[in-house]
């Protein structure tokens, strides 16, 4: 009896995350998916058909027949959406690379800093989270605008003669993404670099490897799981980013998050915006699967 109870208990424990996923991911996903197959209409809600309990079985089948993949065909046919997807992926990929270039030296420096300083440095990386993300992005407007802090400072130094146009360009979007997502890059990198045995570097040097070569042959390959984790944590949210391109990017900065927002709020076209969201999800599933497999490989290697 006790064994039965404990087996039920352990099943319940496992059930919790699955139920969570079911109610908060799978069910909403299917609702969005269903809306993406519907047609827009001027009503409440703004699409049809709407399923209801009063339909009965025959009514349900009738409504199911009204669903179609027209919205997805529409996405493929209109260059706006394809361009938005491609440019989102490109912007996210470039910003991920930039974040890696900025984040790796920071994580490396933190991992090699004296042990008593490390908690403080870690704290400094996490500290920006204490301020609202929105406010921090707004602050960048103040820094980047033509009469902003950066231009004033550079003019004062005499580096430039006239203000740089950064705000409302793709450059500002890169700056915003690199700044906002840096902690997500630094933390996993720091975690892998910090646990690395320094005697490996000494062994490489002992065997005739100068420090820079030792970095590329030992440190970097061993930190690769951290590089992959950091890149995924930056790339995945950056593809669908809305706030940063909206506030810092110009009208020519095309990103799918903004397209989605326009479809949803300006055009009130829920079915098309749902289709945009579903396609975005499918595009992101690929790197997530790759990330999972890389992690499994890393675990295997650690034995």
């Amino acid at each position: 009896m006790r064994r039965l109870l404990s087996s039920i208990g352990s099943r319940l424990v496992i059930a919790v995350p699955y139920l969570w996923l079911l109610f908060f991911f799978l069910v909403p996903f299917f609702i969005v998916f269903k809306i993406s197959l519907s047609q827009p209409t001027i009503a409440m809600p703004p699409y049809q058909p709407v399923f209801g309990l009063e339909d009965g079985l025959s009514g349900l089948f009738g409504k199911l027949r009204q669903l179609s993949f027209d919205n997805y065909l529409w996405l493929l046919q209109d260059a706006l959406y394809v361009n938005a997807y491609v440019s989102s992926v490109v912007i996210a990929a470039v910003s991920t690379l930039l974040t890696l270039l900025v984040g790796y030296p920071i994580a490396y420096g933190m991992a090699r800093a004296p042990e008593r300083l490390r908690p403080l440095l870690l704290m400094m990386v996490i500290l920006p989270f204490w301020t609202s993300f929105l406010i921090r992005v707004y602050a960048w407007i103040g820094i980047l605008k033509p009469e902003g802090l950066l231009n004033q400072f550079l003019l004062f130094l005499g580096v430039i003669d006239e203000p740089l146009i950064i705000l409302n360009t793709t450059k500002a979007v890169y700056i915003g993404i690199v700044y906002s997502y840096l902690p997500f890059m630094v933390l996993p990198l720091y975690a892998t670099l910090e646990k690395m045995d320094h005697s490996l570097i000494e062994a490489a040097q002992d065997l005739g490897c100068p420090p820079l070569a030792a970095f590329w042959k030992i440190t970097f390959p061993l930190s690769f799981p951290g590089v992959v984790a950091g890149c995924m944590l930056v790339f995945i949210p950056a593809v669908g980013e809305f706030v940063i391109p909206d506030l810092l990017g110009g009208s020519r900065t095309l990103m799918i998050g903004r397209t989605l927002w326009n479809e949803f709020f300006s055009n009130r076209d829920w079915p098309v915006s749902s289709a945009v969201a579903i396609v975005l999800l499918l595009i992101l599933v690929l790197p997530i699967v790759y990330f999972q497999r890389a992690q499994a490989r890393a675990r295997e290697r650690e034995g």
């Binding site: 005697s199 000494e202 062994a203 490489a204 040097q205 002992d206 065997l207 290697r301």
Partner: protein, 378 residues
């Protein structure tokens, strides 16, 4: 093997005044902040020597090794290898290789790639690398493990890979930092002899750091005993054991009975008065003069334990058998003297059973010959 043993017995360049030292530490000091790890230390090691640095943890032995490897710079003093001052030469340009305590095998590389790492770094042609790696794998008997990753090996196998990797470049000197520390006792004992054979076959100079006196005595030609950043004695294992230079060495290597006393008569038939008033006849009082406070160090196996006072021996103390430790090959008796001091005496169990053996709480005499102990002045 017999010829090998006899060859090694005649190896004693340190006794030859014309022999040129291979490695020389000259007044080397290393400080970390306020802490002095190595304190004005001078030491010479000869070519083809198997040299051990023995001491407790924190005595500076690993720091000394790391300075030779180039991972630490001496605060002052100089280190010479084969006549060349090593100052300013980074680890990757030194003709020495190190076997790390943690082995430091590259986890993302196969056994082969680990061994080939240093050779590739030197730009050796591929065919030669393959040949050398095969040779090294054979040397450490790991041929069939060439394509494994370190985490797929046992502790003993990893130790062999580390050894093969550090030997692959044929270094002038191999530095071994507690190389056998992670192995179990049986494997450790086997590996000790293998290392000695290997060192002899390859004709290399080995410097090993260890805290295990048995390990140092089994393998080394000479042992340097270190404490608080200083070398207390450099000598062969037999000299270290039978003629320790000071109390620390006597107590660190093996177990010892230490009698504190005063010199009554110095010379070759010296007399000492023990703290309890007993008088000892000693064959050699060294450089102590009458009135000096000295310590007489007598190893437990040099004491005889009997029920009756032996008539022919001058140095005898009476006490009670307080504890008996039966270790199989020998038995150690702890005898408590009248003043409460414990004296250790050990007997070899050369017979399987002894009738009427001494037992707990019996009265017993421990006695020793005049030449059984060493007089120490510090």
């Amino acid at each position: 093997m017999a010829s090998l043993g006899s060859t090694r017995r005649t190896f004693a360049p340190w006794a030859d005044p014309t022999a040129r030292p291979y490695i020389r530490f000259e007044n080397v000091t290393k400080r970390f902040g306020d802490f002095t790890a190595v304190d004005d230390l001078s030491l010479t090691v000869y070519e083809r020597e198997f040299f051990a640095l023995l001491g407790a943890s924190g005595c500076g032995k690993t720091t000394l090794l790391r300075m030779l490897g180039g991972f630490e710079q001496p605060t002052s003093g100089r280190i010479f290898l084969d006549g060349q001052d090593l100052k300013g030469i980074p680890p990757y340009r030194r003709p020495v290789n190190m076997m790390f305590q943690s082995y430091a095998l590259f986890p993302h590389m196969t056994v082969e790639a680990n061994i080939a790492f240093g050779l590739k770094q030197d730009g050796m042609p591929k065919a030669e690398i393959a040949e050398r790696v095969a040779q090294m794998l054979k040397l450490v008997k790991l041929e069939q493990f060439a394509r494994r990753k370190p985490h797929q090996l046992s502790g003993g196998q990893r130790q062999r890979v580390a050894l093969a990797r550090s030997l692959a470049k044929r270094p002038k000197v191999l530095l071994l930092d507690e190389p056998l520390g992670a192995l179990d006792k049986k494997l450790r004992e086997e590996t000790q002899f293998e290392l000695v054979d290997l060192q002899y076959e390859l004709g290399l100079t080995f410097i090993i750091v260890t805290h295990d006196q048995e390990e140092a005595m089994t393998m080394a030609d000479r042992i340097a005993i270190m404490d608080k950043g200083k070398v207390l004695q450099v000598a062969t294992p037999a000299e270290v054991y039978e003629a320790p230079s000071c109390r620390f060495v006597a107590e660190f290597v093996g177990s010892v009975n230490m009698f504190e006393g005063t010199v009554v008569e110095a010379g070759s038939a010296a007399r000492l008065r023990d703290r309890s008033g007993a008088q000892f006849l000693v064959a050699d009082s060294g450089d102590a003069s009458p009135g000096d406070t000295v310590w007489l160090a007598v190893r437990p196996e040099k004491l005889r334990i009997t029920r009756e006072r032996p008539s022919e021996v001058e140095n005898a103390l009476e006490g009670e058998v307080w504890d008996i430790a039966y270790l199989g090959d020998m038995t150690v008796y702890n005898v408590k003297l009248a003043d409460g001091r414990i004296v250790k005496a050990s007997t070899i169990n050369s017979r399987r059973s002894v009738e009427d053996a001494l037992t707990w709480h019996e009265r017993a005499w421990v006695s020793f010959l005049p030449d059984a102990g060493v007089v120490l002045t510090r």
